[in-house]
């Protein structure tokens, strides 16, 4: 979303801190990693705010956020997720009975768990879209891929989630 005036660092912390925290929390399921990311992103924003050109703040901020996240993952020398499934299609195990399906899928722990099983690229796009609320174009700008790739990742990510949560059928 375009902004004409460069925000101050304090405004970035106040207006975007919670979104950045939720982005990292849903990507990792880990509150400590999420808090670390917020601090790292704000540090980078403070250092780089003078280089920002008004008009593309969200794209700029989320590019920084994503890079900080991936740098943090690399620094810890581990994957950003629990072990990935060998195939795109996966299951959380035996399907629950039809009577319990609806109550199960409403549990945020189940959704978080299914989210963590998505391959990173798909999870990232789904979280940016459905948790952060970015448009496909903003996600494409932040991730550095074409909009068509974002569309495909979100679609495939949701299909995997649907299968992972063992919905109806």
């Amino acid at each position: 979303m375009a902004e004409e005036i460069t925000p101050t660092w304090e405004e970035v912390a106040r207006r975007h801190g919670r979104k950045i925290y939720n982005f990292a929390y849903r990507l990792t399921g880990n509150p400590d990693d999420a808090a670390d990311l917020v601090q790292e992103v704000l540090l980078r924003v403070r250092r780089g705010l003078h280089t920002y050109t008004p008009g593309t703040f969200d794209g700029w901020l989320w590019r920084i956020t994503r890079n900080a996240f991936l740098d943090g993952v690399r620094a810890k020398k581990r994957r950003p997720t629990s072990p990935l499934p060998e195939d795109d299609r996966f299951s959380l195990g035996a399907s629950p009975s039809p009577d319990t399906v609806l109550s199960h899928v409403r549990l945020s722990e189940d959704v978080q768990s299914a989210l963590l099983k998505l391959p990173y690229e798909f999870r990232e796009s789904v979280v940016m879209c459905d948790v952060v609320g970015l448009t496909y174009q903003e996600i494409a700008d932040a991730v550095g891929v074409p909009v068509g790739t974002v569309r495909s990742r979100i679609h495939r990510g949701r299909k995997m989630l649907r299968d992972g949560l063992a919905w109806t059928r």
Binding site: E10, Y21, A35, R106, S108, D130, Y136, H155, R158, K159
Partner: protein
């Protein structure tokens, strides 16, 4: 229908409001008569909603201090939480927040204690012979009725204040016949109407 003609990833983009022009028309037309794509649309919609309904985490207090942001607290949500008046999403939000926020966790404990204290107060019996006082009030003109309502309310407050020291009524309160109950119910309705015009009655009294 040929598989190649199905909508695939257009469905997710459609859900997100990311389609325009020809693609939007194509999805709308196709969904009108393709059961398979309608089913896939519903599945994708469910997955989308599930993620969007994940509770939004508040910034932990410690992080707020570090980055100089005022922490968001739950306030009135806490009482509604104790009373079971929140949606499941709001309950999730409170559970998550309270687990990391010392301020709200402490406030929740205090509210719970206050709520329990009020709820543990003894329930007093309201005797039939006191009710008859109220029934009589309904027969009075509005202005006098209001004065009597105030008098009865004061008397009732005094009775409540007396608490467990209330003495048993001379008559057995359980021996109430149906006609008596009906008459008192009618009086109650009449009384309620009278109370509803209290502001006007007070104005008259002040003239």
């Amino acid at each position: 229908m040929d598989q190649m003609t199905h909508l695939g990833e257009l469905l997710s983009a459609y859900l997100d409001g990311e389609l325009t022009g020809d693609e939007l028309d194509r999805v709308a037309n196709h969904l009108a008569d393709c059961e398979r794509c309608i089913g896939e649309f519903r599945d994708l919609q469910s997955a989308r909603v599930a993620v969007r309904l994940l509770p939004r985490m508040e910034l932990p207090e410690k992080l707020c201090e570090t980055i100089g942001v005022e922490p968001a607290h739950l306030g009135a949500l806490l009482s509604a939480y104790l009373d079971g008046e929140l949606s499941s999403e709001q309950v999730d939000r409170v559970n998550v927040h309270v687990s990391t926020c010392g301020h709200c966790s402490e406030e929740l404990r205090e509210l719970d204690a206050a709520r329990s204290a009020v709820r543990s107060m003894p329930t007093l019996e309201f005797q039939v012979n006191e009710l008859s006082e109220v029934a009589e009030v309904a027969e009075l003109p509005v202005r006098r009725r209001w004065l009597r309502v105030a008098a009865v309310a004061a008397a009732f407050a005094a009775l409540v204040g007396a608490g467990s020291a209330l003495t048993p009524p001379a008559t057995n309160p359980t021996t109430v016949d149906l006609d008596s109950l009906t008459a008192r119910h009618a009086a109650r309705i009449s009384l309620d109407n009278g109370v509803a015009v209290v502001p006007a009655a007070l104005t008259e009294a002040g003239e």
